[in-house]
């Protein structure tokens, strides 16, 4: 069984079931976007895969080995996870933040080997933050910090990459740069699962789209097949104009369903 295989996954938060019967696959080489309204369970799914909350049922495995059974160091070399909230507690410079991504590979963040330093420099180049290397976190804008933290994710250099709304608060250019970076990572043989709220961005930059609603998968397929008037109405309760241009799918939300205007 190759790549990420999730079967019948269930999870509770505070006794309330948040995920139920979730099943999908992400193959190496694929970028998969996770869509769905607020509270659909996107973050819970990613946190559950990252081993941060226990599953109440079902399995998730990478290349045949269960993620839940892995030791934390082994899991940290299998998957990298970028949480939604962007926290940097001390006033570290960007270079030091990105270097933390090398910790699971035995690097001490203070003294990087030339190989680790090259990976860190490459990750910073990818996210367009190389020029921020010495800038402390307190002197970065929200978007700059988001890109630095995404560079940390890339520097961890794991076969499976999980990112929770990494595009939020990025300008359009950096959204495209971020998605292009994820796609490039996938082209190198990684499996990328990224939750997004921007449906056009998801449609244009991912190989496949999974739509969650109330903790279950309601659509899973190529963007053109998954993003339809029906699924948008079911997931978000909206009507939308869905079209195509030479770059791919176009999407304009119009109104709430069941609402006259």
């Amino acid at each position: 069984m190759s790549g990420l295989v999730v079967e019948n996954l269930a999870a509770d938060l505070g006794g309330r079931p948040v995920l139920a019967g979730v099943g999908f696959r992400v193959a190496p080489g694929e970028t998969v976007a996770l869509l769905g309204p607020n509270g659909a369970g996107k973050s819970t799914l990613l946190r559950c895969l990252a081993g941060l909350i226990p599953a109440s049922g079902g399995t998730a495995a990478w290349e045949g080995s269960g993620l839940a059974a892995m030791t934390s160091p082994a899991r940290a070399r299998t998957l990298a996870y970028l949480p939604q909230d962007r926290v940097v507690h001390w006033n570290l410079a960007a270079g030091a933040i990105v270097a933390l991504g090398r910790l699971p590979h035995g690097a001490s963040a203070g003294r990087l080997s030339p190989a680790d330093a090259a990976i860190v420099a490459n990750a910073m180049e990818t996210m367009d933050v190389a020029h921020l290397e010495d800038r402390p976190a307190s002197a970065m804008s929200g978007g700059e910090l988001a890109r630095v933290l995404a560079a940390r994710l890339i520097a961890q250099d794991t076969p499976l990459v999980l990112a929770d709304e990494p595009a939020a608060s990025l300008d359009p250019a950096h959204q495209i740069r971020l998605m292009a970076a994820f796609r490039r990572q996938a082209r190198q043989g990684k499996a990328v699962l990224v939750s997004l709220h921007d449906i056009e961005l998801a449609a244009r930059w991912s190989d496949r789209v999974i739509i969650l609603r109330n903790g279950t998968v309601i659509a899973d397929g190529k963007p053109d097949n998954a993003i339809t008037a029906e699924t948008m109405a079911e997931a978000y309760g909206i009507t939308a104009r869905i079209g195509h241009d030479e770059c791919g799918l176009t999407f304009t939300p119009l109104a709430l369903t069941g609402n006259g205007d």
Partner: protein
């Protein structure tokens, strides 16, 4: 070793020698050291061995423990107000010692007081790990520590309140103030190995502390085992700071001020602060202990009083001047 850590180590070494040189009798430091090694001048050798060396060694060890423990706890809790006293270990160790005074067991001499304090520190570890160690978030540890500090403080006050005779109360109060005066080489021999074990545990947390900079979730996804880190940290602080309380009483503010003071000169990673803060704490405590010997106040001030007296206003100034940067 970073340049800052090397600088602090040199400063601590210098103050260690100065601590050996300062005392009631006038013995030049080199002469005293020579006497200590060769035994050429028995009087000087006795003074060095029985009075000055234990004092300097304990100043070094306790100061290092407080500075290192403060830096490690601040990193783990990601709270610049953390210090070894915050997690309740110092309070529990003090209570253990007070219990020995109160029950009159201290009359048996030997190391009864020290062992009482170590038992208190061990009890604190069991309590903290039992309550906060499993599935813990750092926040649980803070809350458990605050609860433990209040409880041990209340029990210490109760012991004072019910104390059978004024002499016992006096002994308790004096001991709580913290001092390096009149310690024996045996005190250092008891405390230093425990401290060294604690330091090893704290240094072993270095990478985990760095990872925690990005929050609990990211740290865990980077392979940090949070409950194990919490356990190592609590045990490390209890061994190093608890051993210090056992032989010298409670000495405040060193663990709080030193990491604060040095952090701006590092790259802000918690791990780069550990060694520098340890040596910085040693330097500060040695300097304060030299100062109480040089100040002629009729009767010698307890070094714990001096560190609090200087530490609190200094800390306030530090917070005020950093306000804009931290906000």
């Amino acid at each position: 070793m970073t340049r800052l850590a090397a600088l602090m180590a040199a400063l601590a070494a210098l103050l260690f020698l100065a601590s050996l040189a300062v005392g009631a009798s006038d013995i030049p430091v080199l002469h005293g050291l020579a006497a200590l090694v060769t035994g050429s001048d028995p009087l000087a050798a006795t003074i060095m061995r029985d009075i000055r060396l234990p004092r300097a060694l304990l100043g070094l060890g306790i100061g290092f423990s407080l500075g290192l423990g403060g830096a490690a706890l601040q990193g783990f809790l990601r709270n610049p107000l953390a210090e070894p006293g915050l997690v309740g270990v110092s309070g529990a160790a003090a209570l253990g010692a007070v219990a020995v005074f109160y029950t009159g067991l201290s009359a048996f001499g030997g190391f009864t007081v020290q062992l009482g304090a170590l038992a208190g520190a061990a009890g604190a570890v069991v309590f903290l790990i039992g309550l906060a160690g499993r599935r813990s978030s750092p926040m649980t540890l803070v809350l458990a520590g605050v609860a433990l500090t209040s409880l041990t403080g209340a029990l210490t006050a109760l012991a004072l309140n019910l104390s059978p005779n004024p002499f016992a109360s006096y002994e308790i109060i004096f001991w709580l103030l913290g001092s390096l005066k009149d310690r024996a080489l045996g005190d250092a021999a008891l405390a230093l190995p425990l401290m060294a074990a604690g330091w090893a545990l704290l240094f072993a947390c270095a990478s985990a502390l760095d990872a925690l900079t990005l929050g609990d979730d990211t740290a865990r996804s980077l392979g940090v085992n949070l409950p194990r880190t919490a356990t190592m940290l609590v045990a490390g602080v209890a061994l190093s700071a608890g051993a210090g309380v056992a032989v010298a009483g409670t000495i405040g503010f060193v663990g709080l001020v030193v990491p604060h003071l040095l952090r701006p000169f590092t790259d802000e990673r918690p791990s780069s602060l550990l060694l520098a803060s340890g040596f910085g704490g040693a330097a500060l405590l040695l300097a304060a202990d030299i100062a109480v010997r040089l100040l002629t106040t009729g009767r010698e001030l307890n070094v714990g009083v001096l560190t609090a007296l200087i530490g609190a206003p200094f800390f306030l100034w530090l917070v005020m001047s950093n306000r804009r940067v931290m906000a």
